[in-house]
Symmetry: C2
Subunit: 343 residues, 2 copies
Amino acid sequence: MDGSKIKNMDEFAAVAGISRPTISKYFHDPSSVKQSTRARIEEALEKHDYRPNIFAMNQNRKLTRTVGIVMPYLADPIFGEIARTIERRCIDAGYRTALFSSHGERSGEIEALESLRALRPSGVMLAPLGRFSDRDFISGFCEEFPTVIFDRDIEGVGEAFVGSDNASFVSQSVEYLTRIGDPPCFFEMKNPANPNSIARRQGYMRSMRERGFEPMVVQVDGEGWEFERIGYDGGLGVIENRSLPTNTVLCSNDRLAIGFLAACYEKGLRVGRGSGCALRVAGHDNHPHARFTCPSLTTVAHEYEAISETGVSTLFDLIEQGGRFEGRRVERLPTRLIMRDSA
Amino acid sequence: MDGSKIKNMDEFAAVAGISRPTISKYFHDPSSVKQSTRARIEEALEKHDYRPNIFAMNQNRKLTRTVGIVMPYLADPIFGEIARTIERRCIDAGYRTALFSSHGERSGEIEALESLRALRPSGVMLAPLGRFSDRDFISGFCEEFPTVIFDRDIEGVGEAFVGSDNASFVSQSVEYLTRIGDPPCFFEMKNPANPNSIARRQGYMRSMRERGFEPMVVQVDGEGWEFERIGYDGGLGVIENRSLPTNTVLCSNDRLAIGFLAACYEKGLRVGRGSGCALRVAGHDNHPHARFTCPSLTTVAHEYEAISETGVSTLFDLIEQGGRFEGRRVERLPTRLIMRDSA
DNA sequence: GATAAAATTTATCGCGCGTAAATAAATCTT
DNA sequence: AAGATTTATTTACGCGCGATAAATTTTATC
């Protein structure tokens, strides 16, 4: 904590009275130097408060021990949560992280990967935009760096995919809803930004048919990432037009459901499975706010923890194997029904 | 888009048939080279798809044109939104950004600033943790890099602060609530992570006294960042104990209010200003979800856009002035009452 | 105290790029 | 066409660090 500013390793080596390569070795692994020199270094460290420049370090290192994380849209709390969980696991495993958001745009995704390239990451966790992604570009990137695709798949790209099983998502919700009440319609955006949405719709249709019901898909207008707004506006629309084909609404994701519930509240429709209720509403994902909607939202949970755990350990496997698996690993994790009050 | 992989500027200079310094100059400013050489470079660029390594560039550059952004907790959608807005403004101004989250922890904040130091940013937008921040460390950082503190102030640190005026926040909500109904109590966490909370409580107390009312502060247990949970549990508590001193509840922030509203709903308390309503509830911040609570949440809005705009342009001013202002600039922007249905 | 083993130092190169000065080439004057 | 300018190239060095080989010192072993 001295006033003296040390700006590089040479200067620090000088004040510590130890050669630079030894200092470098120490920062690589403190236990790799003799106990007495280690003590001297750490003593100097307390006096002078120096830290090596991480980017200069990585520039010529064999292993950077850096994991790149790319999320499609960090302002969405679901992605925020996932990113935080992954970061924690990486840090616990002795890696450092570099977090990027694509901001929902193709160019943003490319920018993020381009910046990552310059960092020469040991591995990358990539949650792609999906249908807006530049498939060829990402594919090329995956050739260069060990990359695990997660959340949404880009088929055939990268050495591994880890995500929730959309079929599992929807079959659980459809099974539950049909078991204790009328079969649900499926509420979604007309042009979903998200390929998971498509898989969910298909899963819904198959689940319904398997149970002998005719699928009912309700699509509402809206683009972009303001899902609550879209669910709200769309909800108001279908309520006012009385165009809901059933009293049970299964939303493609929780954020739409949050908006839909707001519309129901405003229109005085009581939501829940009690006798006085006009409507049942359910979602998918288990959004951090799903517990606090009115009524609390019945949903099928993304197991963040499990996905992060599996994704990160798959990545570490991949890194250990030198960046290549025999065949592409695909893991679709089961999901978990969370019964609350809305359905 | 050729197959040939170019890995550095030397190789690219070779295939383009132009010297490396000229290539470097081109990437600095394409219009700084002769039209004909520019054309040749861009032709080669299309063929070979090379991009310079941004971190190597920044290492020895005078101006990195990089803005560092440090948020206290990115998983909070409010901070996600603010970060996104700031990033956009920086990019529009020709800067690149590096985004970090402190993850709500002192060590995370230090890590973030330490990483930023290695990037030698042209400027930094820092939303500090507040009372968990290492004041001395941050102060030292601000000496090195032009830094604008925003969202929460650390008095005397950095060349500028830009944020909402907490007094304005609370006086608007108190004024409104007292004008159309009973005076509000103030609902908050016992140990708020956030210095804004303290300023808001003080603002509440002053506002109340100015109007001749005795302040009523309701404090609930809870630590960490799960504000909705804390608002919900605390809300259940005060409702069950009937310990609310009044029928009007002003929450320190919207996330607490979201949890509180969920508790009200569950307890069958109708919220709003109509005749059939038991309670009025209001918040502060204008959280992205505040529009979609049930009922929609009356709140006082943070003007994200204005804060980002003012903050970033203050930073650019600061950068132009060489990193120092005459005196410390403090801008507390006014807030805006948003009347919805909850109060 | 001699010998082997381990740790450190010295020296030099590399990473991918910025930058400055000196030189060479192209372009513009008159 | 000769001189004056602008632009481009060459040369040389720097940023902060990693990596390695050879030379030297320190420590451990007997």
